[in-house]
């Protein structure tokens, strides 16, 4: 077993990984498994699941019903993450659609897989060819077929259950079946699909990182309906599972270790990163290969903060594209009361999704969408609504039950295009606990998204009519989905992209920036599986490089 060496507080490893989320963890686990030493530097703390569950239960009703998925997670004073109750303005938002980019992400060992819903979607084949096919956005320098084996490996690494019936897959271009068949649907998913599918909306099972039988040391999902913001039993895939696997093999993971500088040599290879420990002492980690996987907001922030004499615009930023082309699935919600009970809230938080509007010729004109049938219990919103009616006693009880079991919440995602003006920059005035610049985000969506919104609203009105919907409401302000992408965009031309087809920085032969940042198109589906697949593809390249070093 190869392990990092430490001397006077400094470290040396074959591979140094910055960030312990799903991407960093998968790479660390593979490289330590190949016999190379691995050091992982994580800015945030280690978390105790039971404490986080208690923190959630101890939050006020208002915060829980408003989906405050950030406030329950303890933060390091030296690694701030966004907070919303009240807002901490860590990420300052500007631009016409800045308000739609209020991201929730976690800086801790395991990253934001602590509060994802574990939806594990693949991009479609055409999503890699948006410019060639529809004349919008960019093409990736790799194809679906290049990534397909890694999608399979990511699904296996994360223990994904998905539909093995090709007619219910999106997409069905698969070289291997899912490790486990689809998570069984609850009545609400089944009935919703029965009603909408004859009209082309194509409700299909969501592939998800959980299983209904014990899997690889993970318990079976027991439908605690709290995937977001915290699975109470650890049945949902969390990068912590992979971190722990890597640690058992000898990887060293240092929490509360904030990387702030990157050293380069005459050939612009990275020689070391420097980090602050929890006492604010600086240390240096040398290595042969370096991976930065801090999410598509923190990675460009670090690259910009780490500008050095040789790279005055920031690390990996000769193209001036670091931080640009920032994307997130622009979201909105449609709520209504159906004319029949659907009993949403039984089972995991998301199990079915309408993918009919995911692709079509219209994508040359406006955004595709997908509509998740949220399966988070409607009891909270039902209670909020019933209380506003001023009811008491038996009438109140009945009204809450009526609204809870008839209530529907669809979460709709739209596809933004990569645009250079949407970007992360460094604040000139706001500093974090270490004195490092906080991130600013400027965000203005193209009409491509807004036209996609209009098309989706028409579809939703039709869907509502199929259920005799009352109190039909569509939110008008777009919301964030925490699927940050594009800010270290992948391309074959170093002049207009940050990383190459292997997620390697064009400017630095031994630096990789895998994850959401390289994603060249957003599609409309949750980005994690694509990020994980890119991470595993990077791991293969890093492994080969280390074998030949």
């Amino acid at each position: 077993m190869s392990v990092p060496t430490f001397s006077g507080g400094d470290a040396d490893a074959d591979l140094v990984v910055v960030g312990s989320g799903v991407v960093g963890a998968l790479i660390a686990d593979q490289i330590i498994g190949s016999g190379r030493s691995v050091l992982v530097l994580e800015a945030g703390p280690r978390l105790d699941r039971a404490q986080v569950v208690e923190n959630w239960r101890d939050m006020s009703f208002e915060r829980r019903v408003s989906s405050d998925y950030q406030g329950l997670y303890p933060q390091s004073p030296f690694a701030t993450a966004p907070l919303n109750f009240p807002p901490n303005d860590y990420v300052h938002l500007t631009g016409k659609d800045g308000g739609s980019f209020s991201q929730g992400y976690i800086r801790a060992v395991g990253g934001t897989t602590w509060h994802w819903a574990a939806s594990c979607w693949r991009h479609l084949r055409v999503d890699f060819r948006m410019r060639s096919t529809y004349g919008v956005g960019r093409d990736w320098p790799i194809t679906y077929d290049d990534l397909e084996p890694y999608y399979c490996r990511a699904e296996e690494a994360m223990g994904v259950s998905g539909p093995n019936d090709p007619a219910r897959q999106s997409p069905s271009n698969r070289s291997r079946p899912y490790a486990s068949d689809m998570i069984p649907w609850a009545y609400g998913d089944t009935r919703f699909a029965e009603v909408v599918n004859p009209h082309g909306y194509r409700s299909v099972p969501i592939p998800q990182g959980r299983t209904v039988q014990p899997w690889n040391g993970r318990p079976a999902c027991c439908g605690n309906n709290n995937c977001q913001p915290i699975c109470p039993i650890g049945a949902m895939y969390n990068a912590v599972h992979t971190v722990q696997a890597a640690e058992r093999k000898g990887a060293v993971v240092l929490a509360e270790s904030v990387v702030y500088a990157i050293d380069t040599d005459a050939n612009n290879r990275v020689t070391a990163v420097r980090w602050y420990d929890r006492e604010r002492k600086s240390h240096r980690a040398t290595g042969r290969a370096f991976v930065i996987a801090c999410n598509a907001l923190e990675t460009p922030r670090l690259l910009l903060i780490a500008a050095n004499a040789q790279n005055p615009q920031g690390i990996a930023n000769r193209s001036d594209q670091v931080g640009r082309n920032l994307m997130d699935h622009s979201g909105f919600h449609c709520t209504f009361l159906a004319n029949e009970p659907l009993w949403l809230g039984r089972g995991p938080a998301q199990s079915s999704c309408l993918v009919g509007p995911r692709d079509g010729e219209f994508r040359s004109q406006y955004s595709a969408n997908k509509m998740i049938l949220n399966n988070i219990s409607r009891v909270g919103p039902a209670t909020q609504q019933a209380l506003k009616l001023g009811l008491t006693g038996t009438k109140l009880k009945e009204e809450i039950r009526r609204r809870a079991i008839h209530g529907v919440d669809l979460s709709i995602s739209l596809e933004p295009l990569p645009e250079s003006h949407n970007r992360v920059t460094l604040s000139e005035s706001r500093r974090d606990g270490l004195g490092l610049a906080c991130p600013d985000v400027h965000y203005e969506l193209n009409d491509y998204v807004h036209r996609g919104y209009d098309a989706a609203v028409q579809q939703l009105q039709h869907i509502g009519s199929l259920f005799g919907a009352i109190e039909f409401n569509v939110t008008t302000a777009l919301n964030a989905n925490n699927h940050m992408m594009g800010s270290t965009i992948m391309g074959s031309d170093p002049r207009d992209s940050v990383v190459d087809r292997d997620c390697r920085a064009h400017d630095h032969a031994n630096l990789w920036l895998p994850g959401g940042g390289p994603m060249t198109s957003a599609s409309v589906v949750n980005s994690t599986l694509t990020m994980a697949a890119l991470g595993l593809r990077t791991a293969d390249v890093v492994q080969r490089m280390l074998e030949h070093a």
């Binding site: 959630w56 101890d58 006020s60 009703f61 208002e62 408003s66 998925y69 919303n84 109750f85 009240p86 069984p184 609850a186 609400g188 209904v212 039988q213 027991c222 439908g223 605690n224 309906n225 709290n226 915290i230 039993i233 699935h329 979201g331 709520t335 009970p341 809230g345 039984r346 949220n374 009891v379 909270g380 919103p381 039902a382 909020q384 609504q385 209380l387 506003k388 009616l389 008491t392 006693g393 038996t394 109140l396 009880k397 009945e398 809450i400 039950r401 009526r402 609204r403 809870a404 079991i405 008839h406 919440d409 979460s411 009352i470 109190e471 409401n473 939110t475 302000a477 919301n479 989905n481």
Partner: protein, 192 residues
């Protein structure tokens, strides 16, 4: 969950009679000092009758009742007096409708509804000063307890949710409230 800097007075009798002996110590020293200040006496059983009539549940947990009360008093200097006035009204009322009518006549309608909201949501107040009191015991969960567990709790073993849900036992929604209900009830939602 109680804050330690309480300066409000609370009803000695409610707290002393409703709390089990062990739970008493959970109130903390500041809360106990509050007790010593004295407050208008309100019979514990009478307060619980008020709560039962308003909520429609007869088997309420008196410890939660006492903690909700303490949170109200902590958050508002006039809460104790309002509850003291409201409680005897409940003794005269035949049902919750009559109680609410009498409470409104006495200018206590909002107090009564706030008490209902606290029992159903488990939280007193809103915003950053809100005081969470109960989670799984919040009455909202009882309204669907035959088909849904409070989130974080399991209702059964793996894949329990594939079984059919219980009967609705309520009528389908009707449109009468639609016009009066704010459309944007969930504007604060930010997550998919």
């Amino acid at each position: 969950m109680h804050r330690s800097e309480s300066t409000a007075t609370i009803s000695r009798r409610i707290i002393l009679r409703l709390l089990p002996a062990g739970a008493f110590f959970l109130l903390g020293p500041a809360m106990l000092r509050g007790l010593e200040n004295g407050a208008p006496a309100t019979a514990d059983a009478d307060y619980m009758r008020l709560c039962s009539l308003l909520t429609g549940f007869s088997n309420l947990d008196p410890e939660i009742g006492a903690r909700l009360y303490a949170a109200f008093v902590h958050l508002s200097p006039t809460a104790a007096q309002a509850f003291t006035r409201l409680t005897p009204i409940a003794l005269q009322a035949r049902d919750d409708v009559a109680l609410m009518a009498a409470a409104r006549d006495a200018g206590l309608g909002d107090t009564a509804l706030a008490l209902v909201a606290a029992w159903y949501t488990g939280t007193v107040g809103s915003g950053i000063h809100a005081e969470p009191v109960s989670y799984a015991e919040a009455l909202m969960y009882r309204t669907v307890g035959d088909g849904l567990a409070p989130p974080t709790y399991a209702f059964g073993g793996p894949a329990w949710w594939a079984a059919p849900p219980p009967n609705a036992d309520v009528s389908a929604p009707i449109t009468q409230h639609a016009a009066t209900l704010p459309l944007e009830l969930e504007s604060a939602r930010v997550r998919s």
